[in-house]
Structures are given as C-alpha cells and as structure tokens.
Symmetry: C2
Subunit: 369 residues, 2 copies
C-alpha cells in the first residue's frame, strides 16, 4: 500500500478536524496513512504516527472540536529543513504528502515539492484549504471562514445591543477582529445589522487605510444620533499615513493585536467619550458552539475531495471551492495548481464588496447559514 | 387601575428581557404600566413611557435579544436624586416600583423605599434579580448567571483546545472572566474539563489572593507535562500582598479589566514562555447564541413571580430562587426581605465549592444545561 502522510498547519479553525475526518475516511483501508504531528515541525523532526483503528476512533471524538487534532503551529522552513523533510520522506517511503492549511502552508508545500523534484524524489503533494481569513486565491471561500464570520456577526450584534442599553455609562465600543491583510472577517460584522441606526456604525478594513477625521466624525455623529457607536476594526488596519496602529512583539516576531485598545485610547482622548475595547481574539477561530452548518459540511467535503486527488494521482494541486450558483446556493470543487495559488499571494476583498456591503452580505449568506 | 413603574438597571444579561416579558405579561391588562428609561437615571429625570400594545409588540421582538430593552446604565443616587424620584412618583401617581437588577439595584430600591416612607408616600417596592456575577445573597442562583457561566465554560474549553494544538508557537493563555468579588463565573471555566491534563490548569478566584510562586509553578509544571497551560483569572483578583493586579480608570471611576494582560506580561517575563491574554469581555453577559435554556426559562418565571407579588401587595421584597432538589433539579421562588439582601452584601463562593470544584460543577450542571 502507498504511504500517505497527512498534516495540519497554521492557526486552527473550528472545523479543521472535519477536513481531516473526510480525508481519513476517503483513504483509510486503501492507503497506509501517517499523521504528521505539530505541522511542518513534525516533518522536519520525522514525527509521524501510523494511523490505526484506535487513532481513527480518537479522531471521531475530535471531529467537531476545535484545535488541530494533529497539532499545528507555526514554523519557518530553512533550506536545511526542506532538505531534511525530503530525506525523511524518502526514508519512510512516503509517496504522498497532504497538508491542510492556509497561504503559509501552500507556500511550504510548494517549497517541499520543489525540493523533492530537485532531489529526484517522486512525491505527490496536495493542499487542502482552511483559513478563517478567507485569503486563499482562486477559492471562493475557504473552510473555517464561514464559522468565524458567523461568530463575528453575532458577537458584534450582541455587543452593540448591550452597548446601546448602557449608553449613559459607555458610548463607544471598538471591536477587534482577525484579518491581517484581508477584511472578509471584519466586514462580516455587519451581517445582522437591520437598519442604519444599529451597529456597527464604522468598519475599518485593512484594504482601506484609516482616516482619523472620518473615523472621529462617524463616531461623533452616531453618538449624537443614537447615543452610542460601535466601531469594528480588523487587526491589520493602518492609518492613511501608512503607520501601523498597533504592533506587538510576541515569540520574537511582530504580531498584530491590540489595535482595538489603541483606537479606544485615541477616540477617548479626541472626543471625551467613554470608550471600551473588545478584542474578539482566538474565539473567532475556535468557538465550537456557533459553527456554520454549511462550513462544517464543506470542510468535510474538501477532505474527501483531497483524498480523491490522491487516488487520481494528481499532484501540486489545491482543492478549490467554486460557487456555481448564488441563489439556491451550489458549489463545486476542483483541483487548481499549487503554483498558481502561491504565486498570487493573499486574496483581499474586492472593491465591489467593500463599496457595497449589502452585496457582500448576500454573497456571505449561504456560507453563514 | 394602579400605576406600576418598571425598570432595568446595571449591566444587562443575555436573558434580562425575558424577565421583563414575564413581568409585563403577568401585569398588563390589570395594571397601568410605565416603563422607566435608562435605569435610575430615568426615575430622576421622570423619563417614563406608558406601555401600550405597540410597545408590547416591540418587546416581543427583543425578548431573546441581549441588552436591556428599557436601557440601563450606572448612576449614583444622591440625596437630592432620591428626593426627586419620590417627588416624581407622587406626581405621576406611581404606586408600585419594580426594578430588575443586581446588588446595586437592590441597594437603590432600598434607599428609594426609605425615602418614600420618610415622605409618607405609600410606595410598593419589588426587586427582581439579574446578575451574571451570581452575587446576590439568599438567592441560589440569579437569572443571567447560567448563560454567562455556559459561555465561559465553552469559551475556555475551546481556547484551551486551540492552544493545545499551537503549543510549539504559544504555550500559555490567560483567560479573563468577569466577577469583581465573587468567583462563580471564573470557576465555571472548568465545567467541561474531562481530565487532569486538559485546561484550565489554574483558576484564580477573587475569594483567594493569588500567590505568585504558586501560579508560576503550576504554569511551568503544566507546560512541562502537557506542553501548554491555560490560566483563568477573575477580573477582581488581588495578589496575596493585597495589591491589585490591574485597575483602569474609566468614566472617572476605577473599573476592573486588563488583569489578563498584566498577568500575561508577568508570566512571560518570569518564565520566558510565550503567553497571550484573552479577555472574554462583555460577550459573557450578552452572547445570544449560547443561552442556557434553564436560565432563559427561570428569567421569565422570576418576572411572572414579581408580577404576582405586585398583585399580593407584597412590598420591600426580592424574588428569590431556591433550589429544592439537586438531583432531578427543582427550584422554587419566594419573596425575601429587601433589607436582608441589602444588609448582607455580596455573596462570594463558599469554601466547600472553592475547595472541591467537582461539587461546584454538580451544582452548576442543571443551570448550564
């Protein structure tokens, strides 16, 4: 039986284990499966576990739980690491490598595939998408995003209603979402907004630099009209003079976060209003009790589809989700070249959605369910 | 028809409007109802709205939404304010005052009742409990708490599973919950923990001052054994040398918050581990998609019960929930003297629960459902 190594990498999503379940279901029995522990780190350190009956039973318990079942993590791949990975693959006679991940993972897979070719080792490489940021190119929407968007939409609506009733004490809330370069998640915050007066009253997306005057004017107008203002800000937003609003050092690298606190201080000082920061944090990618059913189903299906590509000997491809129909939603999956995905880089929100959020919310509707 | 004024005060809960619905349902038709806008502020400013059919239809839409339907807020009652309130009640011929609130509200009601007596005005005063902190004395559990505890339990479990899979990148998360003086909410964070190795690995309650060495030792041991550590901290926790961990100034008064960030920095500096703060924030009191069904039902029932006390001419009482049976859970409601509740102050977690969390989780189980 052909040996297949399977891993998960990057930040987990609430449905990442459904994908692993689909993939495992499709392949087990016909292939000899190995799980890679803790992302690429496990490839470098040759930390592979043979998948047996017991492991599959354990996975079944974790299918609907957050956190990557195999362990994940972040890991910079050096030249030596890449060489070591291919060496390890050869040694264990791994002929197929499948990873579930985001843009970073697709880049890593591309490098590993290139290194295998350089060493004349025949390695089948397949990428399966997952990201709450929804920023993988050529994919209509990535598994994990729908559930995260649903959490952001309900959390913002609820925080806004809560604030509305406390306006004699607190007038402004700045809600921070994930999304380094792409505003898909932040923009989802207005999905449940029913009329102009409800929050969010201002959404700052990383695609559009933030103008201080426009922000303050919108906040002050909303406080004048409604008594309060809900501001949503994506973690990667920059001021329009190109300066970052907030960067923190974490694990010896610069990570985003804290932008809501910085903006809260800014608004508080400039307006004399009482402002509170609410960072939605990691719950966006792991809150298990508000998963989108469509997202959960599709996460499973991309796993199955990835397994089919293994059977069909497709290599250097990524499973993509394409939207066939918007009304009476229908999607189809197909393989797209890994190189194409990697070359294009991050997928930002298109102008048509940024300039017309109603159109975006229509598009979002079947994914959030 | 007798004129009854109804208000909501203090921080809202996810089920606060169910109580208003129950109360309104019990009384409308037989009494002339007035809604007080924005808490005690509305009493002082005589901001009362006659409840009509249209208002009730609007309330029906808000019954299962968070935020106080009538507006709430915080407000310090001066002697002049109290006198003004009773003056306003007399003028509008309000004979009954019912407020839905926590300890602060019960104190305010007690003062208003005292002032009415001083002015020889016959005012019926009834308090209905709501608080996510669960700190009202003589009440087994207050409406609002069960839903907040459920959110804390799931959020902590999910954040912990997410962290477990990212341990090569991040080893410690400090999760901050509400609870100024009482640890009911923070302690609920371990409700879904299935075995010793799972998070939370350390829970800091305001009832027990925090020892730095014990905290660091527990974190380091858990990282050694499990690769990661989840720490939960209640916003009001103090170091055992009696110094506060974090106080911020907000709205010209000291408010709690930010303790998770301070603790994260502390742990990061002392251990060289990578630590992230996660403040569960206001979503604890308003997340509409993870409401406890028992909590929602009981929130409605205390409203009905409060209405019955109006009919029975009971005054200076609070609706209390008493637990009749733990197994095959059963509760009963009864009036308790307002003065008794006010005199006793905040209800902390008893030692028997702090020292035996399993016993606490059994007690918690029927409320969280």
């Amino acid at each position: 039986m052909r040996n297949v190594a399977i891993g998960q990498a990057g930040g987990p999503t609430s449905v990442i284990n459904s994908t692993l379940s689909g993939l495992t279901k499709e392949l087990s029995g016909d292939y000899s499966l190995y799980y890679v522990k803790d992302g690429y780190g496990g490839l470098v350190e040759n930390n592979l576990i043979k998948v047996d009956e017991k492991m599959i039973l354990k996975l079944n318990k974790y299918t609907y739980l957050p956190g990557a079942f195999l362990g994940s993590g972040r890991y910079e791949l050096s030249k030596e690491n890449l060489s070591q990975i291919v060496f390890n693959m050869k040694e264990k006679q791994i002929e197929t490598l499948v990873f579930i991940g985001g843009n970073g993972t697709m880049k890593a897979l591309h490098k590993i595939s290139y290194e295998a070719k350089r060493q004349n080792y025949d390695l089948q490489v397949i990428g399966i998408p997952k990201t709450v940021d929804n920023d993988i190119y050529y994919i209509d929407h990535s598994p994990g995003f729908g559930s995260a968007a649903k959490y952001v939409a309900y959390a913002t609506r609820d925080l806004s209603l809560d604030l509305a009733s406390m306006k004699n004490f607190e007038q402004v809330r700045v809600v921070e979402t994930m999304g380094r370069n792409a505003g898909w998640l932040a923009a989802a915050s207005g999905f449940l907004k029913r009329d102009e007066n409800e929050g969010p009253h201002f959404i700052a997306l990383p695609e559009r630099p933030l103008n201080k005057e426009r922000l303050l004017e919108t906040v002050e107008n909303s406080v004048k009209e409604n008594g309060y203002a809900t501001v949503v800000v994506s973690e990667g937003v920059l001021w329009d003079d190109d300066t970052g609003i907030s960067f923190n050092t974490f694990n010896n690298r610069t990570v985003l976060g804290g932008v809501s606190q910085k903006l809260s201080h800014f608004i508080g000082e400039e307006t004399n209003l009482n402002v509170r920061a609410e960072n939605l944090g990691m719950l966006q990618r792991c809150f298990s009790k508000l998963i989108s059913e469509t997202d959960k189903k599709e996460a499973f299906l991309v796993g199955i589809e990835g397994g089919k590509y293994v059977r069909l000997n497709k290599s250097d491809v990524v499973v993509s989700i394409d939207r066939v129909k918007q009304k009476q939603y229908e999607m189809k999956m197909e393989p797209i070249p890994l190189e194409k995905v990697v070359r294009h880089g991050e997928r930002l929100m298109p102008d048509k959605f940024i300039d017309n959020l109603e159109e975006y919310y229509e598009w979002l509707s079947p994914i959030i369910d």
